[in-house]
Symmetry: D3
Subunit: 246 residues, 6 copies
């Protein structure tokens, strides 16, 4: 991998932005995390409700679902408020479906029991990679919510089967780059989001050619890069979760 490429941030091609995971960010939710990937900041909350959606009634299993939003001025120019427009964009729905699938991949829904975990990922500042930051932060929020259920004796065994995190990668001027910020994202020919578990299993791979199509070789380079990045993210999740709270 070329080491001579210069990123506008000065980062190496395989370098993550500064990542921070702040637990107990707001006080009401069972899990509440502020996750920051550089200037991208997302509040991820996990809310437990002792009900399941209609399609799971009397199945003896739980559910985990996600919603995603962006404050109108999280971005360079203000975008319309979805609540005022009266509907969520296709992009929003695509992202929240992705977050839900990613988290369900590491949940044993039968062990969760007949309850629902709602994950809300709200971007308060956007600088690229909001969906992957959301997944990475939502896992920690969900973990905290599960810990509360365990402490309260509502669960005797954790339904969480593995860690899960996500990162974006892309190719710019032929060089694979890890963790794209907004400027890089809009310059890349290829953009890929990768979701992976702690044991290295792929959960989602979504690669899109924005300009020229990409080759199998490029795809492999991107997946290598993503894997290393996700291992680092999972180490950070682990460390954040080790911290004790009163």
């Amino acid at each position: 991998m070329s080491s001579s490429v210069s990123r506008h941030s000065g980062r190496r091609p395989d370098q993550l932005r500064a990542v921070r995971i702040t637990r107990q960010y707001t006080k009401h939710a069972e899990g509440s995390v502020l996750v920051e990937f550089g200037d991208t900041k997302v509040i991820c909350t996990a809310s437990v409700s002792e009900q399941v959606p209609g399609f799971l009634r009397d199945r003896g299993q739980g559910w985990l679902t996600a919603e995603y939003g962006m404050l109108p001025r999280a971005t360079h120019t203000r975008s319309d408020r979805e609540a005022a427009r009266g509907k969520q964009t296709g992009r929003t729905q695509e992202i929240q479906r992705l977050i839900g699938r990613a988290l369900r991949a590491v949940f044993d829904l039968e062990k969760l029991g007949a309850r629902t975990i709602h994950l809300d990922c709200d971007v308060i500042q956007a600088d690229g990679g909001t969906r992957t930051a959301s997944i990475t932060g939502a896992f920690v929020a969900a973990h905290d919510a599960v810990s509360k259920l365990l402490s309260a004796g509502k669960l005797v065994e954790s339904p969480i089967t593995d860690f899960v995190a996500a990162i974006s990668v892309g190719i710019h001027d032929g060089v694979p780059l890890l963790d794209l910020d907004y400027v890089e994202d809009s310059q890349c020919d290829t953009d890929m989001n990768v979701v992976m578990t702690g044991s290295g299993g792929l959960v989602e791979v979504q690669g899109t050619a924005e300009g020229a199509p990409f080759s199998r070789g490029e795809m492999n380079a991107l997946l290598d890069l993503a894997q290393a990045g996700i291992y680092d993210l999972i180490a950070m999740q682990r460390k954040a979760l080790e911290q004790l709270y009163a």
Copy 2:
């Protein structure tokens, strides 16, 4: 006024919660403020657009409007996301109309020129008084946006004619209380929101009997309390705006 009442927080009846006003909270908006009244936390951004709504076209004046939202888990129990439900509740619309009117009361819209300031007030944690905190924070965000227009030479004179802030007051067990938190708000017989300018003019008074109706005497006591609180808030706005930024 009884001095023996005990508030669950230990505050005196005429005491505000700890108020913090953090400017430049997010990086994209022309004005961005995190305002905290105790555990109530609202992100207020001011966005400038060089357009006016249709009903003001070719009138040579500007406009200032507000939108309000709450993250689904800003509250004790999760509420539905308005964007997912496909419409804003009556409460949301009532609040955002109030914020808009309050801010327009201290703006000379002709001096603003043919542009719009959008104020977005998004509650990330709610503990009572979100609408009054929003007005108080939105003023600072709007002030920062105007400063940018002045620095950039887009305005030669500020369209801001006065300070404006707001506070809630209520009567609990016969005692008028300043700056109600969520628990107090739900216990009060009467709940009043007051918006006032720096020069002491009333902009909005919205008093509601939740239980028993209130008397003129009680109303006067509430307005006295509110006035003192608003003067304190305006002093804090002033101090926050004096701070220099790079």
Copy 3:
């Protein structure tokens, strides 16, 4: 209070418009009133349903709620039909929430039993003060609905605890005026809606500075004026309700 001001209608500053309350205006509703404040005409119906909304299920109490609408050509220029636009405006929602709160202030919902009274206030001609006329008329309609429940033996005791009526007041050229019509309403600097019970308790006070802020002294003058007007309105409600029907 200056007596030299001239209102375009020739009314004295403290004079109500001609008020008429016509009961049994339409035939299907349990209560049906046409209320007229000068050229403002509102049909207020009260409908009883033997159900309560979900949030009150199994609480052994009733509910009272209001909806408000305006015929498209109730106003000078035709406005879009809300049913065709697919949503109610913020103004409509604000008004119907106000009417509901005002009426609930004089209802003992436990005595109402597990049923709902729906109040529909539909403006067929608007000339200012539609929300206060609605409250004043809706009370009479609700009273008639309760009388039917009493006659039918469905209630043994009235859940109505007091009379309630409402009026608008405003300041024009420094003079406080009672019961603003459309032209006056658009000229006033300050506009206030007051809801009060028969025993003189304040239920709602909503004062808004349209232009310059208002002082405490002005506020007091407006409340004095409103109180006298509301006492007159309640006398008219009382008289209307004394009339016997076959």
Copy 4:
């Protein structure tokens, strides 16, 4: 036709209900009519706007369109407010499309010039036949609006080419009945709405078998009955329009 049938109202089979047409019913609209067919009462307003919808831009012709609504408690049991539900029912849309077509049949849209007449038909009390009462009343309201355009010199020649009115007919126990009220409407096997011009031309015939299909003979009997009724209605429109107003 059997003369021995007894209608619950005591009417003869070929007898209209008491019909009243009140012009200038509300004050803002260019035409405003209260039309009553027995207990069915509809406010019909005609509003003139000096614009045409997009699909007619630069065609040098005008447009005439209708909207229909019912107050929630115009009926025996309260129905949901369409504005609150967020959409108009199929029935509402069907009726307002019918009213528009019926009126356009007697308008020369080129002579109307590049303007639109909006007809709003709002049922304040329903007892069967609301759509035919609406057409009958809307014609008078539209006529008044045209008279205003002529008086104001905005039109030099009337675009109205003929009278138009409508009535419902049905078959009950084998007997054709004119002008069905609500009870009769729900008992009839066949229900037909007929729209006809002053010169006897058919504009719309909408016959529906609610129970058993109907024969050509029955259809003819119904059309005969409708024709006589419509001639009476047109005489009443004519008489109402002859009345002079200040």
Copy 5:
């Protein structure tokens, strides 16, 4: 009837277009028919669900309802997709209500039992007469669905009481024409849709004057024409249903 008129297709005034009814067109539905009237092509499916809508709960009878749609490019110029616009047009609702009524006229809903037949009529190519083709095809689809219920022993007796089919007729240059295609439909002064049973009973007659009003004589000529056409269509339905399938 004049035989000298020339239709652009070369058809005689009383001649149907080529009609084709293809059963088992798609594989999942209980009944699935492609019906073609010349270039008008509609897929009609009948789906059985073992539930009834709320208003029929515990009434021991079934329901039959219809929905109608058009592919965006079924027409000459592309029309907006109703699902993307977020609502069905008035025209769509009018048509689907008509289809439902037409089919219910030949169903004994008590014999159907507590289940619902959903008819979906989706136009894949439009050339006039889509609603009448839909009714004609939907009957065959509904018949197939009933046959499946009979074969499966879920019904012991057919709830179908008669055949039903529909056709459009119109008057062009004074000549009554059967089965209008798109070009003819837009040229006709009068347009009528007729729904009739196999035993010759009228179910729906909807005649509309597009230009000049029509006379009773014209109406009779159109009904004669329609009746002959519908008898032909019912013969084709009968023949299609006689075909055996594996």
Copy 6:
């Protein structure tokens, strides 16, 4: 690759279903294709409009966008009609965004000129793989629309830069399978959709672990399989496009 796996259809693991591409399927659209992958049948139309969306105004380039829908009974059990529900599901939006991106990858939008190609993909029968069939068929429809623009002299050079097609692949019991039908799709642990150009470039790769995560080795096996399948599909597109039409 194991040759011992048995697919319920009898296909080899690397075998496509019978694929048919029928051009000129409906008559109005500039391009109209029925594409069949076994029992999955999708009508793909391409409509040309001489306008561009607002965000491209005055940019001198064109646009290509896609919409997707499913007839309510295209599936085993009837699903709600999106037009009746009033909104498109997240799944629908995700798919139509994918189709649009896939086609834009082989279009030079500047060469297209200031016009829009709307692709409508409507599933009339679903048996798995509807999105990949849609892309494959939409390319042929778009190609036909471009040919019309070239023939009409509206374009002098084709904006199409390459072929594009798509296929689904998945892993079932450890065996990679090509072109999943509905039953296989619901049994697979991993499901991947691949979009590729004629020159072998990857346009989209969307892999999702439905059950257990997948490994890099499995991912590679799936991509190999997909590539072979897509080459076959492109050969079929090529052959379909060679056919001459009058």
